[in-house]
């Protein structure tokens, strides 16, 4: 296997640790004397808390503290401060933390939890986003008007369940529909679902006598935790130290802050002793934030020749009981609301609404898998009405350079890539010409459906990443960065970029796998497929920094101008005569002359990056730029459907993505496939079922089903490479995107097979049967 640089398949740096049990995750740090904190959680989705009886639990030997909402006045939220870490007076979702027991060990803590009795007075529930905005709906947050907003662009509507509203106004919608020959309208329902990272969320905390707070957490946002803990509890930022070891999958679910607050409170309650809090799977599913639900009504018009003319959309984001990341999801949907298509007249309202469901946070694709299902179903419906090939229809409406997006950003080849090329390649890959519906006998139908995707980062406009480089005396390098390793091998990517820039063996680059905010430079959060872009840019700058220093020192030693020198293979050589060179190892800790005199000291590299050119969107029209670039792609799913049984199996799933430039081909393919597998799960089985009282019914992996081995299709993944000029080695982020179009492609394939409009998810056989037959025998 080649050792250096980009464009080659590189084995992830931590591979060996992960096949031997050496890789340590948060819970694998088990220290003697650590106490256990455990949550008592709500069994009602909406109720007043009449009484919490902790008497029996408190008297249990080994119980060190019990905290309830009454002992804590904090109210928290990353965008809108609406959530108490422990419910206060009222619970708003099933599974909400009510009390926290701190005990000597899990055994006692669990006993105490069972002994705490909570008395509720049930309140009427809001069990769907459309119920939430109905006239006379129960209001979840009476004090919405007095909640503090943390960012300038959330717009809560006091007296309603709307915690934010985003809108897009582009062109003239009335004119657009007037010019349309054909108009389709449909309604979509997508319930919430969960991340199901295999490692449940967990945190540890300790407070030293000098006030230093130490947090260890399974998180995608160590620096975010540091900032929030210090802000919420009024601590000096320098006194909050957050460590994140390996993380067992995140998918966005570990980008929010929840258990860390509770861990701090628990430790505080026992005089700063070290405590751990570990989500059971059941808590991880309902108590910690999940994936948003969505309801949508869409009206889409096109001319006879198949040009999209106008689109009007109302999206209701089910943010659950608290806002958390919901408003950002609403914004992300608004930004890319049309899908990657050129539509001049766009009217879009995205309401982020409270319900008595678990609250939500980021999830792989950041809202895109959800709205893409709606848009791509619409595109298929319209194509069929027009009797056009859905692939052709998508091609002729694709955004192209000089078009503008819904937020009126000008499309360029660099910032958008080439969707048409993706569609063309996809058609070959999936044998589109064969036809999308074939009767193959035995009541079986083979059907294909496709969907396009696009996504930009939706990151805050001022987020940073940073890198420190230090050298070992043998000339090898230590790369220290603040991004978390939870699966997509971003640390390996960083090493690849450095190895390419310094033209050195990647095996001589050592990357810190854990992150410690005390030593690692800040990296925003390891989310939004932005790590290669942000961290990569920081790595390049750090590399330039060490090259400059190395050259300047070597120039002194070799007595030549620095620009005559070149760096490669841990050497600095004279360009005109490579036989004249110095080794890194003779320079990196200072250069020592023969007589012992030494010059310079350690070479220390630093690279820093801040996002630029992103702005807050205009409140009225949505105009503005939400991310530096898009990643686009086209996906297809082929299924075999049984007409009699309403069951189906996956045959093929295909993706063609514009990757800009592939840095690590096998890894890229694997990430895309992982996303596709998750997308098949979302499309076919994953969701929360709610009871009539708003309780989540699927609280364990026994009933909440994810994809399993042997149920997956043949995966076909290919790439188009349209350079993104401002990205490290022209690469685009691809870590999330494999998921985005898959539920839609599945929905389209099944709708074709079944000959019914399947506009909800997940598409389990019963749902298909009910839609097709009306649910009558």
């Amino acid at each position: 296997m080649p050792k250096t640089g980009i464009g080659v398949t590189v084995i992830r740096k931590e591979a060996c640790n992960k096949v031997t049990g050496d890789a340590k995750y948060t819970n694998d740090f088990i220290s003697v004397g650590i106490l256990t904190a455990k949550m008592v959680t709500s069994t009602c989705a909406h109720a007043a808390i009449k009484k919490i009886d902790i008497a029996q639990a408190s008297s249990l030997p080994g119980v060190r503290a019990i905290i309830t909402g009454d002992n804590c006045s904090v109210i928290y939220g990353p965008l809108l401060e609406d959530r108490p870490p422990l419910a206060h007076k009222k619970v708003r979702y099933y599974g909400e933390p009510i009390a926290l027991v701190v005990a000597d060990n899990e055994f006692i803590a669990s006993q105490a939890v069972f002994l705490i009795k909570v008395e509720y007075e049930p309140l009427p529930v809001v069990n769907s986003p459309s119920e939430a905005i109905r006239q006379g709906a129960v209001i979840l947050h009476e004090n919405l008007g007095s909640y503090k907003t943390v960012v300038e662009d959330v717009y809560p509507k006091p007296g309603t369940n709307i915690c934010d509203q985003k809108q897009i106004r582009k062109g003239d919608i009335q004119k657009g529909f007037f010019e349309s020959d054909i108009i389709e309208e449909a309604r979509f329902i997508l319930p919430q679902s969960d991340h199901i990272a295999m490692e449940t969320r967990t945190a540890q905390a300790k407070i030293n006598a000098d006030g230093t707070v130490f947090i260890r957490s399974a998180s995608q946002a160590p620096h975010g935790i540091k900032k929030e803990i210090s802000k919420v509890f009024g601590l000096e930022e320098g006194k909050v130290i957050v460590e994140v070891p390996f993380v067992g999958g995140g998918f966005g679910g570990k980008a929010s802050i929840q258990l860390e607050l509770l861990a701090y409170m628990a430790s505080k309650a026992v005089g700063g002793r070290e405590i751990k809090i570990i989500n059971s799977r059941e808590n991880d599913i309902v108590t910690s934030p999940c994936r948003m639900g969505l309801e949508a009504i869409i009206k889409l018009g096109a001319s006879k020749d198949g040009k999209l003319k106008a689109i009007q959309m109302t999206y209701l984001v089910d943010t659950g009981a608290y806002s958390d990341t919901g408003p950002r999801l609403a914004r992300a949907i608004a930004v890319d609301c049309t899908g990657p298509y050129n539509i001049d007249n766009v009217w879009c309202d995205v309401l982020c609404v409270y319900t008595n469901h678990p609250y939500v946070t980021a999830f792989r694709g950041f809202g895109h898998a959800s709205y893409t299902f709606c848009i791509e179903r619409m595109i298929d419906k319209l194509a069929r009405r027009l009797q056009m090939d859905p692939a052709e229809f998508r091609k002729i409406n694709s955004l192209l350079p000089n078009h503008t997006t819904p937020t009126q950003v000008k499309v360029t080849e660099s910032n958008f890539g080439n969707l048409v090329a993706c569609i063309d390649k996809l058609k070959t890959l999936i044998n589109w010409e064969e036809g999308d519906r074939l009767e193959i006998g035995n009541d079986k139908i083979k059907a294909k459906g496709m969907a396009c995707l696009w996504k930009t980062s939706n990151s805050p406009p001022d987020e940073v990443s940073g890198v420190f480089l230090t050298f070992n005396e043998d000339g090898s390098i230590n790369l220290n960065c603040g991004c978390v390793e939870y699966g997509p091998a971003m640390k390996t990517t960083a090493a690849q970029i450095l190895s390419e820039k310094l033209k050195m063996d990647i095996n001589r680059i050592y990357v810190n796998m854990d992150v410690n905010t005390k030593y690692s430079p800040k990296h925003w959060k390891t989310v939004a497929s932005m790590t290669t872009f942000m961290l990569g840019r920081a790595v390049l700058r750090a590399a330039e920094d060490v090259i400059r220093q190395l050259k300047s020192l070597a120039a002194v030693v070799l007595r030549c101008p620095p620009e005559n020198l070149e760096v490669e293979d841990e050497k600095i050589y004279v360009k005109s005569d490579p036989a004249i060179f110095l080794n890194f190892k003779d320079l990196v800790h200072g250069y020592k002359y023969n007589n012992g005199n030494s010059v310079e000291g350690q070479i220390l590299g630093r690279g820093s990056f801040i996002m630029s050119d992103i702005n807050v969107l205009d409140k009225e029209t949505g105009k503005g730029k939400a991310g530096p670039y898009w990643t686009v792609g086209a996906q297809a799913v082929e299924i075999e459907f049984d007409k009699k049984e309403y069951t189906y199996r996956f045959i093929k799933a295909a993706t063609v993505m514009d990757a800009g430039n592939l840095l690590n081909p096998s890894m890229a393919e694997s990430l895309v496939k992982g996303g596709m597998c998750m997308g098949l799960g979302l499309g076919s089985r994953e969701c929360f079922n709610y009871g009539p009282e708003g309780e989540v019914l699927d609280t364990s992996l026994r009933s909440y089903k994810v994809m399993h081995f042997g149920e997956t299709p043949q995966y076909l993944v290919e790439f188009v490479e349209t350079p993104q000029l401002d990205s490290p080695y022209e690469a685009r982020g691809i870590a999330e995107h494999g998921i985005i179009g898959i539920p839609a492609a599945l929905g389209n394939a099944l709708s074709v097979a079944v000959q019914a409009e399947l506009d909800e998810l997940p598409l389990v056989p019963e749902t298909i049967w009910r839609i097709k037959t009306g649910g009558v025998l």
């Binding site: 096949v19 295999m198 799977r281």
Partner: protein, 156 residues
């Protein structure tokens, strides 16, 4: 009749070594391995038998250690991922990109290793059955399939 009440010191045979551990009858093997022996390769993912992250081998057969009492494992040979020493499946997992976050990996490795030992020439359906016991949320499973097939075919 064997019996156990309250906390006791017992001996476990783990990865070919005998270890003293203090257990109560209600302790499950997963916790004993992790908390007392520091063998954290076995991971909790659900503690309900659904995910397989806690899988270990008992006398060579995969068992979900979250649903086995420690006392049931006395006198049996327990193998955890830490006991796999350069077996082919480890190499195959690396070369075939069969993991990302790595959290499910120990469980999958042990199932694959047991399969290759017990059924060296399994038909596809048997591979499916064995590996369906575990969940991986990161990969597409195809990579894991490639890894196990690579060792079964002798490629690795």
């Amino acid at each position: 009749m064997y019996s156990l009440k309250g906390k006791n010191i017992v001996q476990l045979n783990v990865n070919k070594e005998i270890h003293d551990v203090v257990i109560r009858p209600s302790d499950v093997l997963l916790n004993t391995l992790r908390d007392q022996l520091g063998l954290t390769g076995a991971k909790p993912g659900c503690e309900n038998g659904d995910c397989g992250a806690c899988t270990v081998l008992i006398d060579g057969w995969p068992v979900k250690s979250c649903l086995m009492l420690t006392v049931e494992a006395l006198g049996k040979k327990i193998t955890t991922v830490e006991g796999l020493k350069n077996v082919p499946i480890q190499k195959a997992f690396i070369e075939k990109f069969a993991f990302q976050c790595g959290y499910c990996t120990s469980g999958f490795l042990l199932v694959c290793h047991a399969l290759a030992t017990i059924h060296p020439y399994p038909p596809d359906i048997v591979i499916d059955e064995w590996l369906q016991s575990n969940i991986c949320r990161c990969t597409s499973y195809e990579e894991i399939g490639n890894a196990v097939r690579a060792i079964l075919s002798g490629e690795i």
